[in-house]
Amino acid sequence: MPREAEPSINDRAFLLQALQENIRLDGRALDAYRHLDISFGDDYGVADVRLGKTRVLTRISASITAPRPDRKFDGIFTITTELSPLASPAFESGRQSDLETHLSRILETSLRRSQALSTESLCLVAGQKVWALRADIHVLDYDGGLIDACCLSTLTALRHYRIPDASVKGGDLTVYTPVERDPVPLALLHHPVCVTLNFFESGEKWLVDATLMEQQCSEGEIVVAANPQGEVCLVQKGGGGEVDALVLLRCVEVAMGKVRELGKAMDGALAKDAKRRDKGGMSRELRAENER
């Protein structure tokens, strides 16, 4: 399997010198994201996020299973990431790479452990039947910013997903098809988004949303996951290179602003899609949580 090509010495020197003059190769500001485009499929729970040339598609699916014996009231939520040669020839299918482990750990902490999705809301019959929710992340194109794009894509898909409505009567569980009852949105408690910053010049200079080449030339990175309310869910510093504590604080502050920006883009895309689906303006009346 071919390795990811390292940038040549000239490329690297050019990029670093440009950065010294606060210029990025694609002309962006140091704290600017690439063009973000969020689109949805025909089904609920499919989000296709494009961040520059990086493209991630997430699909949410649900099935009914028995809960874990020690957690009778909690549904199951799993996130799977598998990097395939679709995204880059350097990714091998069927073998977990370091990048993949890193990615799944961060998603695990920022989305699952931060209780973004209330797993208790996925319980149908305590101790017997719960929803098992699954997020399949397909990385289609890879040009840096993988963590940010994956996190955003998963969260958008979760917010977009509608789970089939179910009711329990005398111990009997009925799951309704979309024709019988409109599916219901998931219970999301907050919306954490990841922002990655890369360091250069021994921690003096940082930039947001690095491309693959910038990432390869950088000395280290820090991932900040936070929600638009300003609560930090995760801060992870990786890749070696020492960074001053004050710079770190400044980075978290910058990340916070980016989180709000990304959150707003996500809200906008979701609202636009809801409008597209809302044919004849009847969706409010047809909602399952309305009184019957």
Partner: protein, 250 residues
């Protein structure tokens, strides 16, 4: 109607997205690239296929599809032109139609055959996009036969459930049968009918005329309904788009 996008991905050597009848597949091809020692073939290129389902991890169904596709594409690609190298396919199923009923399982159709035509089409388009030398192109279709022997081309999930047999047929650009996979009860006569129907869908009318004449026919014919013309049309449009700069130069 089929929806085709050529080269939607940046990093892969060649890629294509093919959507038809509720199925949507993204195919990426890398190649010819370095091959692992154990897969290396001394006189031809190794063809590696990975089919990835929309939800969940691949299982036996996907392995079965992979083996069918691998055997087909090894005949289509001029493998002897690239000895001791690898041509790697990744076929990502993006959407597959659901029948609107809730089951305990992941949303996968009960049978694995219905997705095969889309996978084959996507992979051949990706090969074209990669510019790997081919001996021919192929077109594939799905035909279902219901209990009173009516043929249904491109059946829906419900129709597949009620069908007595389903057939996947692929034809080469010379009109020869390349792949046939059938499931269910059927007689040889029914199969003959299916064969004729599928050939009509994939390859259009039987050509009894000479080579040069038939070429004129295809140039003049307005009928783009057969799959081969759909593919041709998609590739032509992509080329026209990529060559636009040349035209504007005069």
């Amino acid at each position: 109607m089929a929806n085709i996008t050529l080269s939607p991905l940046y990093r892969a050597d060649g890629s294509a997205k093919y959507s038809k009848a509720g199925y949507s597949v993204i195919a990426a091809v890398s190649g010819p690239i370095e091959v692992q020692r154990r897969d290396e073939l001394p006189e031809e290129a190794a063809v590696d296929i990975a089919v990835r389902p929309a939800a969940g991890v691949g299982g036996l169904r996907e392995r079965h599809l992979e083996s069918i596709i691998q055997n087909t594409l090894r005949r289509v690609i001029l493998v002897s032109a690239h000895p001791r190298s690898l041509i790697q396919f990744t076929l990502q199923i993006v959407t597959s139609p659901e029948d609107g009923t809730v089951t305990g399982n992941l949303p996968q159709a009960a049978s694995n055959l219905p997705v095969l035509p889309a996978l084959l089409q996507a992979s051949i388009l990706a090969l074209i996009s990669t510019s790997i030398p081919l001996s021919m192109t192929l077109t594939a279709t799905l035909v279902a036969v219901n209990s009173n022997d009516t043929l249904i081309p491109d059946p829906s999930v419900q129709q597949i459930k009620l069908a007595s047999s389903i057939h996947v047929l692929a034809f080469s650009s010379h009109g020869e049968l390349l792949v046939v996979e059938s499931e269910g009860d059927f007689t040889m006569d029914t199969w003959e009918e299916v064969y004729q129907k599928a050939k009509l869908i994939c390859h259009g009318e039987e050509e009894y005329k000479g080579e040069s004449e038939s070429e004129d026919m295809s140039m003049n014919s307005e009928d783009v309904s057969n799959l081969e013309n759909v593919l041709k049309d998609a590739v032509e449009r992509k080329i026209a788009k990529s060559q636009r700069w040349k035209e504007s130069m005069g």
